[in-house]
């Protein structure tokens, strides 16, 4: 089964969305297999990480209003580096395996283009997170570098992380 934009409504995240968003983020952060946050991160710190004043946040919901996935988009660097964006995604556990990550990534690239970004960069794609690597490649992201042992995986120890990039 493959996902398309018509399977989900993607809207800018507002303050009232937070609890729904947190319900999707929390299990991913607690698993500790993909994001550079302590597994016991507080809701407050997670919110501060996910939502930045210079960023854009989105929520994808199905037609019943259930959250399928979320993303953030923000400048990867400041000043002369602020034309490249960084982004992060979490797909709700119940919605995985349907190609939503690729669809959400592609939609976020449109959003980034509309915001004037010229490229999208991921700084820490955990190499053991094979489904994610595959999804980002399908969305046109390429591995441009590997950081040896950059991520301490709860089961596998120090594993490599990829840096991925796509010109927009």
């Amino acid at each position: 089964m493959s996902a398309s934009m018509t399977d989900m409504d993607i809207c800018e995240q507002g303050e009232p969305d937070w609890l729904d968003v947190w319900r999707v983020l929390e299990p991913a952060f607690r698993a500790g297999e993909s994001y550079p946050l302590p597994r016991d991160v507080s809701e407050e710190d997670a919110k501060r990480y996910w939502i930045k004043t210079d960023g854009f946040n989105a929520v994808a919901r199905d037609h019943n209003g259930a959250v399928l996935g979320v993303y953030y988009l923000r400048p990867d660097q400041g000043g002369p580096g602020d034309h490249i964006c960084n982004a992060g995604y979490v797909i709700a556990e119940a919605a995985r395996g349907r190609g939503l990550a690729t669809a959400l990534c592609l939609q976020s690239q449109d959003q980034a283009r509309a915001m004037g970004f010229r490229g999208m960069k991921f700084n820490l794609v955990v190499s053991t997170n094979e489904a994610a690597v595959k999804a980002w490649k399908k969305a046109g992201m390429e591995i441009i570098g590997t950081v040896p042992g950059a991520f301490c995986h709860p089961a596998r120890g120090f594993v490599d992380a990829y840096i991925m990039f796509r010109a927009l």
Copy 2:
């Protein structure tokens, strides 16, 4: 002429050092050729960028107390990524061309090892900054990736940036 540790005293930066540090940082930030900060960055914002609560800052002075160079060292990522450090350096204009960047980078690697870091990563080495690239290579840093057009150079427009890494 090549520099050695004996040519400079490197100490942890304290609050009273800030004005001397800023005098070295300001011309580098105003030039806009190496750091991802707006060229007109305020002193306050520059200080917030340079000094982080989870970071380490150092000042290298000559035997007369003049600042030769400065650096910051901090976790590149949080949680399961916090064993890799990021660092940034500025050499005082009057002290350039003497190998101090390499010496300071090597000393910062010792500092990073002492702090428990397992690797050092630079995220945005502007490709046109050839002296810097050469200095970091001499200090054992290797280019592990190139981000196309990641930096908007004031004279050359969009230029590539390197990601550099060294295991510690």
